[in-house]
């Protein structure tokens, strides 16, 4: 049983100490939304803001998404669940943020829910880990949720052959309305400008139909190869429920098999597709 109220209290306490001492200028966590089921990402900057912090089972948002918005050197405290901490680690690896600028308030947690469907998201659209990989303070005792492999949900997808997969994605990606919520919710999508926004050269049609949709999604999938931390935010942000997590998980699994390294596990690692090692698998060339 997770005591959300207790985590919320500890979160407020830590945030207050950090802001009071001036150790950080902003605390990235969760605030009240229009009802309990819909909390919002919240940036507490004043000590009085701390009272508005909340934490409940619907606080899915990956706060690492907001890190790159602050100028480098800003001292930031950030509330992280397991997948979120991996995103922070990956951002540190990619030199978008510095470890010294961050205070990580780790939240070991399981049983987070999707407010739209009410279903528990453990392992389905998130990475199946429960304790953050990097933290300065833990806001909860270690938790032991069900041991799930993040790749279990791939079983049905992997059973499809090449043609079936092509048909599957064609059908799913046809639904896309090109609102780009997936890219905007993604902590690893920080390119400015994103290739899809460029007009010289223009990489894809703007119209929400097959060729442009394919171009956008397949390119985004591959830009995230070896970098996706499997937080599942893209799939939850999607207004038309495209199961983007399936592709990301599949690519992550293949990367792990080939390079024996998961994205965002240690700040000592280098991003797999940047790091060249003689013993690397040649499978990628096949």
């Amino acid at each position: 049983m997770i005591r959300f109220k207790q985590i919320e209290e500890r979160l407020k306490k830590e945030a207050k100490i950090l802001l009071e001492s001036g150790e950080v200028t902003v605390v990235l966590a969760y605030g009240k939304g229009y009802d309990e089921k819909h909390p919002m990402p919240y940036a507490a900057k004043k000590i009085a803001d701390v009272e508005d912090l909340v934490f409940n089972e619907y606080c899915n948002h990956n706060m690492a998404r907001y890190l790159v918005r602050y100028p480098q050197g800003t001292k930031i405290a950030i509330a992280v669940k397991a997948a979120d901490s991996r995103a922070v680690v990956q951002l540190i690896q990619e030199e978008k943020v510095k470890r010294d600028d961050l205070v990580l308030l780790g939240i070991p947690i399981h049983g987070m829910k999707d407010p739209r469907t009410g279903e528990v998201i453990d392992g389905k659209t998130t990475c199946g880990m429960y304790t953050p990989v990097l933290y300065d303070v833990l806001l909860n005792d270690d938790v032991h949720g069900h041991k799930i492999s993040p790749y279990d949900v791939l079983a049905k997808y992997e059973a499809m052959d090449k043609d079936e997969r092509w048909e599957f994605w064609k059908k799913e990606l046809d639904k896309c309305i090109r609102c780009y919520a997936c890219r905007k919710a993604c902590p690893m999508c920080y390119c400015d400008p994103c290739f899809i926004d460029q007009s010289k050269p223009k990489w894809a049609d703007k119209a929400p139909q097959s060729p442009g949709n394919m171009m956008y999604h397949l390119t985004r999938f591959h830009h995230l190869a070896g970098r996706c931390v499997d937080c599942g935010e893209c799939s939850r942000a999607c207004p038309v429920n495209i199961p983007l997590y399936l592709f990301h998980k599949k690519v992550a699994k293949e990367c792990e098999e080939m390079f024996h390294q998961k994205a965002g596990m240690s700040i000592e690692d280098k991003p797999v597709l940047i790091d060249f090692r003689v013993e690397d698998s040649d499978k990628i060339l096949e």
Partner: protein, 351 residues
């Protein structure tokens, strides 16, 4: 004229409408209901709260092809894409969404230039409004009462529909609706009891309350003009905003578009596609300069357009309170919460 049909036998009605023209109605998809062109009469599903996407695409599709051309050929050889001239039946539109068409009419049908595509579709479409189910709880995101719209407001529909247990009552509102209703043989005549039920339902709809705050268009426009330059305020309001386009794409009153030439090898199409003020490239100028590079500038544009500029220019708020933007927002930004503070005089000075 009031007529009725058993809801389970609705496919008899929809089949007739499909023979007469194009039928656009709610269809259940995995992610929820959406308006779609019906191919099979059984597809129509009236058991929904509201659709994910607004019905604006019936008149203003996300992708509208204008001209097809070949790059090596002369301009005169380009062919215009002709509009479908069949009558259209837009079935099962909620009262707040019906009102949105009147707001969109300002831009496409009244103010200066008339958009032939919008105009033509509006002319050839018969709107079947559909009252909210008063026995089901109201969605916490909705706030159409704030904009003066009730859950059973027939105004703007050609035919208005109300659910009575297992039956659907259909009442003609306009002359167009009356003519059509008389033709539909799948319907049976309503009893005087049905008449009474219908009238009572319209009254009951007024007591079906969504979130409410009293909004005076003139006052809120002034407030927002006052706060426009207060950067800190807008930065705080937009601190969670991801600047994606969900809110504008699901919105029934957002009408911004881009016209682009999509060319593949030698064949090309000039088309109109929805665009959104939340995208960085929306304001990118040919010189390379971009007047709105920050998230707060873009969110300010969106809120102020709906609740300030639009009032100044056309006298009405460009929002119907359908709650779609709030429901679909990945980070749960609530436009009503914003409106709610903005209606209080000099609210920002207390920040």
């Amino acid at each position: 004229m009031l007529k009725k049909i058993v809801i389970d036998e609705i496919s008899q009605l929809t089949a007739v409408l499909m023979e007469m023209g194009t039928l656009i109605a709610p269809v259940k998809e995995i992610s929820g209901h959406n308006f779609m062109e019906i191919a099979d009469p059984g597809q129509v599903d009236l058991d929904f709260y509201n659709t994910i996407m607004s019905p604006k695409s019936a008149f203003f599709p996300q992708k509208e092809d204008f001209v097809r051309y070949k790059t090596a050929e002369k301009l005169s050889a380009a062919e215009t894409v002709l509009l479908d001239t069949k009558p259209v039946f837009l079935f099962g539109v909620r009262p707040c969404d019906v009102k949105s068409f009147q707001i969109m009419d300002i831009h496409f049908n009244h103010a200066g230039i008339i958009d032939p595509y919008w105009h033509h579709r509006r002319e050839s479409t018969t709107i079947f409004g559909y009252a909210f189910d008063l026995d089901k709880p109201v969605d916490p995101a909705d706030f159409y009462n704030t904009l003066g719209i009730s859950a059973s407001d027939p105004e703007g529909s050609d035919i208005f529909m109300v659910k009575k247990e297992k039956e659907l009552l259909l009442k003609s509102i306009t002359h167009k609706g009356e003519k059509l209703l008389a033709q539909l043989s799948a319907l049976t005549s309503a009893t005087s009891g049905d008449e009474q039920y219908y009238e009572e339902y319209l009254q009951r709809g007024k007591d079906y309350k969504t979130r409410f705050t009293s909004v005076d268009p003139e006052a809120i426009a002034l407030e927002l003009e006052d706060v426009f330059e207060n950067t800190d305020f807008w930065k705080e309001i937009s601190s969670a905003c991801l600047s994606c386009g969900v809110c504008t794409f699901v919105c029934p009153t957002c009408y911004c578009f881009d016209i682009c030439d999509d060319t593949l090898f030698s064949k090309g199409t000039r088309r109109r596609v929805w665009d959104a003020c939340m995208f960085t490239d929306f304001t990118l100028e040919a010189s390379g300069h971009n007047p709105r590079t920050q998230v707060y500038q873009r969110l300010r544009q969106k809120f102020c357009h709906k609740y300030s500029f639009h009032i100044r220019k056309y006298g009405v708020i460009s929002c119907v309170g359908c709650g779609r933007c709030t429901r679909s927002c990945p980070v749960n930004i609530d436009i009503f919460a914003f409106v709610n503070i903005a209606t209080r005089a000099k609210w920002y000075q207390r920040l």
